[in-house]
């Protein structure tokens, strides 16, 4: 029956804090407990922790980039790299002839490729973080959801009709990729909107089906192309980071960096959205508009990335997962940290793709898929308690 007064479970003892340091703060009415920052020590993301983690990751990125620049068919020493970069940046004294070919390899081939790898990896990881929060699904990834293959289809159609062949119109490829990925995201968005909360496995199923449809269409387009063009198409589809010329590369980077910054503007909102649709609304977010903005950004970035590097899978899923385990779930750190780690990951994976099987070059998409596929299965089977 109901507990009477003086019973051990009466209201006053029910709310006594077990933590000895906090008990004195339970003051009678009107009293404001004096609260130090101590209760939150290590429990929340602070600005100092943010800077510390980001500084470490940035340093690590630079070190890894230097390492990746050294490796290749021809080994280039660190001293040479620094010297060449210095003279390229500041136009110092003309280098000796022996260094000229090394300089061309480094500056025209390796540097743009390493840079592109980092950029693409960053964007894919950042988009993965955003999609996971938005769909409340830790398995979301532009590749798994079919967003990448949507973009690839858009690009394939553009190539088929010769839109991408001229240098001047090269900027149209990302637009076509954007259109394709937008179609894929629209399908997923409609699905997500028709359910209260889309079950994790339904999202994956939608991705499987979208992937199947888009792949079939891409196959169709590839098979009716001229053989030499279709071969290039296949190589691109499997994911390759052959860097374009510097003007195109800088245009792409500007485009992607704007996307990243706009995504960074949503980090605190992503925290709230990760709680779920209704809690987010009850905390004052116009969820429909916010979701549309983030979906649009995801489509833009995926479209641009795919149009240059083809289908590189699973980065958007593995990286955020691993980073979340280390730095926590707060998107203010999770998103930029994932971007850096994703960049490093793809940079290293691409270096492996270039160097492991010389003189052949493995498509980098093969390496990321071989790393990401088993991880995906692991999450699906052994961590299913966390995905329910």
């Amino acid at each position: 029956m109901m507990p009477s007064a003086g019973h051990p479970t009466s209201s006053s003892s029910a709310m006594t804090s077990p933590s000895p340091t906090l008990t004195p703060n339970l003051l009678p009415s009107g009293g404001h407990p004096i609260v130090a920052d101590r209760p939150f020590q290590g429990a929340i993301l602070t600005r100092s922790r943010w800077w510390a983690v980001m500084a470490v990751l940035l340093l690590l990125s630079v070190i890894l980039a230097m390492l990746c620049l050294q490796l290749g068919t021809q080994y280039i020493g660190l001293g040479q790299i620094v010297g060449l970069l210095w003279s390229a940046l500041f136009g110092a004294a003309s280098e000796p002839d022996a260094l000229r070919t090394t300089g061309v390899i480094l500056l025209q081939v390796r540097l743009p490729r390493v840079f592109l790898g980092f950029l693409v990896g960053s964007c894919l990881a950042a988009v993965g973080v955003a999609l996971q929060a938005l769909l409340r699904n830790p398995l979301a990834d532009p590749y798994v959801l079919g967003v990448s293959s949507g973009a690839a289809l858009g690009v394939a159609v553009a190539v088929l009709f010769g839109i991408g062949t001229t240098v001047l119109a090269l900027s149209l490829l990302p637009v076509c990729g954007f259109a394709g990925s937008l179609v894929a995201l629209l399908v997923i968005y409609r699905m997500a909107a028709s359910y209260d909360r889309l079950p994790i496995h339904s999202v994956l199923l939608a991705g499987v089906i979208l992937n199947a449809i888009f792949s079939a269409l891409i196959m169709f387009i590839t098979s009716i192309m001229e053989p030499n063009r279709s071969f290039g198409m296949m190589a691109w589809l499997m994911g390759s980071l052959t860097a374009p010329a510097y003007p195109v590369l800088s245009a792409l980077s500007a485009y992607l960096l704007v996307g990243l910054v706009l995504l960074l503007k949503q980090v605190r909102v992503l925290n709230i959205l990760a709680l779920g649709e209704e809690p987010a609304r009850s905390l004052g977010i116009n969820t429909e508009r916010t979701k549309r903005v983030i979906f649009l950004l995801a489509a833009l970035m995926t479209g641009a990335v795919v149009s240059f590097s083809g289908m590189i899978g699973f980065i958007g899923m593995i990286i955020p997962h691993a980073v979340r385990l280390v730095v926590g779930a707060d998107h203010r750190l999770l998103l930029p940290a994932s971007a850096l780690v994703g960049g490093m990951f793809l940079m290293v994976a691409d270096t492996m793709a270039r160097t492991l099987f010389v003189p052949s070059e493995v498509p980098v998409g093969v390496i990321t898929a071989l790393a990401g596929g088993p991880f995906f299965v692991y999450l699906l089977v052994w961590r299913k308690d966390r995905l329910a």
Binding site: M2, P33, A133, R136, N271, L275, N286, D330, A388
Partner: protein
């Protein structure tokens, strides 16, 4: 009383300063259904609901499954919009308020809280500060919490007895701890109105009573208005100032626990006979399930 003039469109959140005749909520002839009302087989979840919530009272909403309790709460939280009728929140129409303005006044604690992402308890509670965030273009969307935010969150966590869990992950909590975390998040919002959907469903006896007495304390100290959906008729009877009993989307009975909790009302609404006597301590109605000898449907 004349219409409250909000400064810059915001409702004055200093509770008690204007505890005048304004109702916390004023619902008039509210009707609501999911989907389009023009459809063929439309089922109205709520029909002609007219009720007032007084500022600083605890209103319980009870009723059988599917009677529209949760839908009514969602309408109050502006999570759904009624097809007919109007909701006034402290004399201002809810439709005229933005989602964010509503969130600065009203906090909502949903019933089920599956957590997928490993936020810590402290981070989750601090999210309640989101509607009160400082906005500047220089912070990129980071909006770091300031001292006030931390103070409000820490206070809310102590009130809900979860301060010692601050660094734990919400994914690792028990159902009761998670529920208290969600209520703490709502309290960190510093609302004038707190809406709770079955807040005691996952809690053991100690924390059921704990939460109810905290709600009463907040009502007395801050003048907090509380609307609580509950299946537990006894809890509603002992802790609510007034009770609205819903049946098939309509208000079947409304009033103080002593007025509403009668054998006839419960039989009418729930379709079963219960025993009701006076609580030995409070004198309020106490509901007891019938013994096996009593027929379920009289």
């Amino acid at each position: 009383m004349s219409r409250r003039q909000g400064e810059g469109g915001r409702i004055d959140t200093a509770a008690g300063a204007c505890a005048d005749a304004a109702q916390a909520y004023d619902l008039s002839e509210l009707s609501f259904c999911y989907g389009r009302p023009g459809a063929q087989d439309v089922r109205w979840v709520l029909q002609d609901v007219t009720l007032q919530v007084k500022p600083g009272e605890i209103l319980g909403i009870v009723g059988p499954n599917g009677s529209g309790k949760t839908s009514l709460l969602k309408l109050l939280a502006k999570l759904a919009a009624p097809q007919m009728g109007d909701i006034a929140l402290f004399d201002r129409s809810l439709t005229g308020l933005s989602q964010e303005e509503t969130a600065q006044t009203v906090a909502f604690v949903p019933q089920e809280n599956a957590q997928l992402f490993p936020f810590t308890v402290a981070e989750t509670v601090l999210m309640g500060r989101f509607p009160h965030r400082q906005r500047s273009n220089w912070s990129l969307g980071f909006g770091w919490e300031n001292q006030d935010d931390c103070r409000a969150a820490a206070q809310a966590m102590e009130t809900m007895d979860i301060a010692h869990l601050a660094a734990r992950l919400v994914t690792d909590l028990s159902g009761g701890e998670r529920q208290r975390t969600m209520i703490a998040r709502a309290l960190a919002q510093m609302p004038r109105v707190l809406l709770l959907d079955e807040p005691t469903a996952f809690l053991d006896l100690q924390h059921q009573i704990g939460i109810c007495s905290v709600l009463r304390r907040l009502r007395d100290e801050r003048g907090l208005t509380v609307v609580i959906v509950s299946h537990d008729l006894n809890l509603a009877s002992q802790y609510c100032d007034r009770i609205a009993m819903l049946k098939d989307g309509r208000v079947a009975a409304m009033g103080t626990p002593s007025e509403v909790m009668s054998v006839e009302n419960v039989r009418e609404v729930y379709g079963c006979t219960v025993l009701i006597d006076a609580h030995p301590e409070s004198g309020l109605p106490r509901i007891t399930l019938p013994g096996p000898s009593l027929p379920v449907h009289p």
